[in-house]
């Protein structure tokens, strides 16, 4: 029976490692490669931590297996019987297995700081690149105006999106903190320019939600009372998933939307389309309207 338990405890970590190795091929891993430069850096961090954890896991499990098998072997009749050895511990060992993980953790903490700062600390945002992107879509703005191109407001159970409208000269207004008469609205359909860092302001109308773009590795909680800026950059012009990653109520599973990263021209055309739809008065498309 003792050999069964030795094999039992050695089997599960072996299976775990085997499954982890097989999972990328089985599609159990990330939803494809990171679709943004920041996402790629987050993935690199993830893989570094995964490698460290894997080494620690295999090391500790191999140690466990050695102790189990060695202990079982020592109690076999043909083995040289050894007396049990009792110890009150080793200070040296305690220091070693406390200091080494602490160094590893400190290394991870410092190593990831740049990525974290760029993602979440506003002063480290790629402001220049964002301003260039705003110029590309011909947005007239002053240094006082927000860099955000849209405001995304989560509510049970959908994503409301507010874009700035157009000036009389056809240029895009800056996004204001409060709603404006010229604002454009959409729901569950976020469009932004691709291949450029762009910023959105995240809010929630009711409970806590989480803005999650899995393909871009972007995840940020929306907290009641706060307007949280998020920047993102999609590598390719394509449609991505936008999900809520916070259990926000019975309809949480319905809170799906699409994020369309597109060319600057298509983005402006999309806003123009919203403007046309929003100003629809059903008169122009019917030369001779019927009366009741």
């Amino acid at each position: 029976m003792k050999w069964f338990w030795c094999l039992f405890f050695a089997f599960w970590p072996t299976l775990t490692v085997a499954l982890c190795l097989a999972s990328p091929g089985l599609g159990w891993w990330f939803p494809g490669e990171a679709a943004s430069p920041l996402g790629q850096r987050i993935d690199d961090l993830f893989y570094l931590i995964l490698i460290i954890c894997t080494i620690a896991f295999i090391g500790t499990q191999a140690g466990l297996a050695y102790v189990l098998f060695r202990g079982a072997y020592d109690t076999e009749p043909e083995a040289v019987t050894k007396k049990a050895w009792h110890s009150h511990g080793s200070h040296e060992l305690e220091v070693i297995w406390s200091v080494i993980p602490a160094i590893v953790l400190l290394f991870i903490a410092f190593y990831q700081m740049d990525v974290w700062a760029e993602y979440r600390v506003k002063s480290a945002f790629p402001r220049d690149k964002m301003e260039t992107a705003l110029k590309r879509v011909n947005q007239k703005r002053t240094t006082k105006d927000s860099l955000a191109l849209a405001e995304v407001t989560a509510r049970q159970f959908e994503w409301l999106i507010r874009y700035p409208g157009f000036n009389d000269d056809g240029t895009l207004k800056p996004l204001m903190k409060d709603p404006q008469p010229t604002d454009l609205y959409a729901v569950n359909d976020l469009h932004l320019p691709a291949s450029a860092p762009v910023m959105i302001n995240l809010r929630t109308m009711d409970v806590q939600h989480s803005f999650f773009l899995p393909e871009l590795r972007i995840k940020q909680d929306a907290v009641p009372g706060l307007t949280i800026p998020i920047w993102l950059e999609a590598n390719k012009q394509q449609t991505y998933q936008l999900l809520c990653a916070e259990l926000c109520g019975w309809g949480h599973y319905k809170m799906k939307a699409r994020f369309v990263a597109e060319s600057d021209e298509n983005f402006i055309e999309y806003l123009r389309q919203l403007e046309r739809e929003q100003n629809e008065d059903r008169v122009d498309d019917e030369p001779e309207p019927s009366d009741e």
Binding site: M176, V187, Q278, E280
Partner: protein, 447 residues
């Protein structure tokens, strides 16, 4: 309802509508139940060339081909293996027993749209709107406003005339964009086929519920337990005589069956005509430009006694008009239990607070125009098209309200969330200004 009248009612519903799990495709209902209908152009072996009525939905693999006439009428259905949309050419799973005649009518995917709609409805809608569309799903008790009860065939936010029902386009619009300010979320990611299927199923539920409601009114007139008690009270009739009279009416094709037929025909006509272009609300004049002058005119109209806007929505538009504290009557003419306004479904309703900038039926000018012109169906919000003359000739002095007046009101409503002191006055800031001089106040960094 007496047990025998209830049995008859159940039988009628079961015969013509079936149950959600076993629906009856009743051709009398103006629903798009099938993937497509058409006629055979040519067919032999496993190939079938069809001429289909337009528009039709996508035809997936495994679609049933039901023979509706010709030499294959009554024969078992065939099943499509592949479908060529360009050539309208079907390759069947099995060879045909005999070549169909040219012009043989066929139905592709009989009842499939409703069946698809039922599954999607169960997945997305049922927990609020209930299995029968009665608005009493398991989540409904926790929601305010309550989910819509379809069974009266009334939908609030439409762009059809006040006397008409909702158009398919209106129902699809609600599914796609949700109802802002309520628990109805947007289902924008559903495919065109999916939202079509849900729309048809919701219409099916509405028609079924309305038939049931009308039949209860018809049968309840003489055969409810109360009516029977009244009729037998003075001894002139016995319960057995009433039951025999009922059974006689049921078996007389000119009596109840004819009444049922008439109810369903009327209802089918109502729904069908509501889908026509003539039923849409269409302004005679384009939207008046959004300007201070227009807003001021809209504000003056809003405060006009004859229009009574302020009586519900309040002078400042906060939804706190005098009617919110008045006693109102229900449909039967009885006083409602509480003060304020009630809708057709007996729910207490609050007039919209115009300062929120949330417009439940959509924020397009045509949406607000429709709310004013045709009202909000099932609620105390009236249709101005029926209470006031619509002046096609702007010089007509008999009209109190013109199309342009409605547009002025629309502009005023749009301006309310942005007014500083009083809409239309000089102090109103229409042009957007930066929210704050300090840009950091516009954003809060999560540090």
């Amino acid at each position: 309802m007496s047990p025998y009248a209830q049995d008859y009612l159940d039988k009628v519903l079961l015969t013509y509508f079936g149950e959600p799990t076993e629906m009856v495709a009743w051709d009398k209902l103006p629903l798009n139940m099938h993937y497509a209908q058409g006629t055979v152009q040519d067919g032999s072996g496993r190939q079938l060339s069809l001429e289909l009525s337009e528009p039709h939905t996508a035809i997936p693999e495994g679609t049933e081909v039901l023979w509706m006439g010709g030499n294959l009428a009554g024969q078992p259905s065939s099943w499509i293996k592949t479908w060529n949309e360009e050539k309208h050419l079907a390759t069947l799973e099995m060879p045909l027993a005999s070549n169909p005649d040219e012009g043989t009518p066929v139905i592709l995917g009989p009842g499939e749209i409703l069946a698809d709609g039922r599954m999607l409805y169960a997945e997305h809608c049922q927990h609020c709107h209930g299995v029968t569309g009665d608005g009493m799903g398991p989540t409904a008790p926790y929601l305010n406003p309550k989910p819509r009860d379809y069974r009266r065939g009334i939908f609030k936010f439409t762009t059809t005339q006040s006397s008409k029902k909702a158009s398919r386009h209106d129902l699809k619009n609600v599914i796609e964009n949700g109802v802002p300010g309520t628990y109805m979320p947007s289902f924008k990611l559903l495919t065109e086929e999916e939202s079509t299927a849900i729309t048809e199923y919701v219409m099916w539920l509405a028609m079924r519920g309305e038939v049931e409601y009308q039949l209860i009114r018809l049968l309840g007139d003489g055969y409810s337990l109360e009516a029977i008690a009244d009729r037998t009270e003075d001894g002139s009739e016995t319960a057995t005589e009433i039951q025999n009279e009922f059974l006689e009416s049921v078996n007389d094709p000119d009596s109840f069956p004819a009444e049922v037929d008439s109810i369903v025909s009327r209802l089918a006509n109502d729904w069908e005509s509501s889908q026509e272009e003539a039923s849409e609300v269409r302004p005679l004049t384009p939207r008046v430009p959004y300007s201070k002058e227009s807003i001021a005119k809209g504000r003056a109209l809003y405060l006009k006694d004859s229009l009574k806007c302020a009586q519900c929505h309040g002078e400042a538009g906060f939804g706190d008009g005098s009617q919110t504290l008045a006693v109102s009557k229900d449909e039967a003419g009885q006083d409602n239990v509480g003060l304020g306004l009630y809708d057709t479904w007996g729910n207490h309703v609050k007039p919209r607070n115009l300062h929120t900038g949330i417009y439940r039926g959509g924020r397009r000018p045509i949406d607000l125009y429709s709310r004013l012109y045709a009202g909000i169906k099932g609620t105390p919000m009236p249709a101005f098209s029926t209470t006031l003359l619509r002046r096609s000739n702007p010089e007509d002095p008999n009209s109190e309200m013109t199309d342009e007046d409605i547009w002025h009101l629309v502009n005023y409503i749009y301006s309310v969330p942005f007014e500083d002191v009083q809409a239309g006055s000089e102090s109103q800031a229409v042009d957007p200004a930066p929210a704050s001089d300090d840009p950091t106040e516009n954003e809060v960094a999560a540090k």
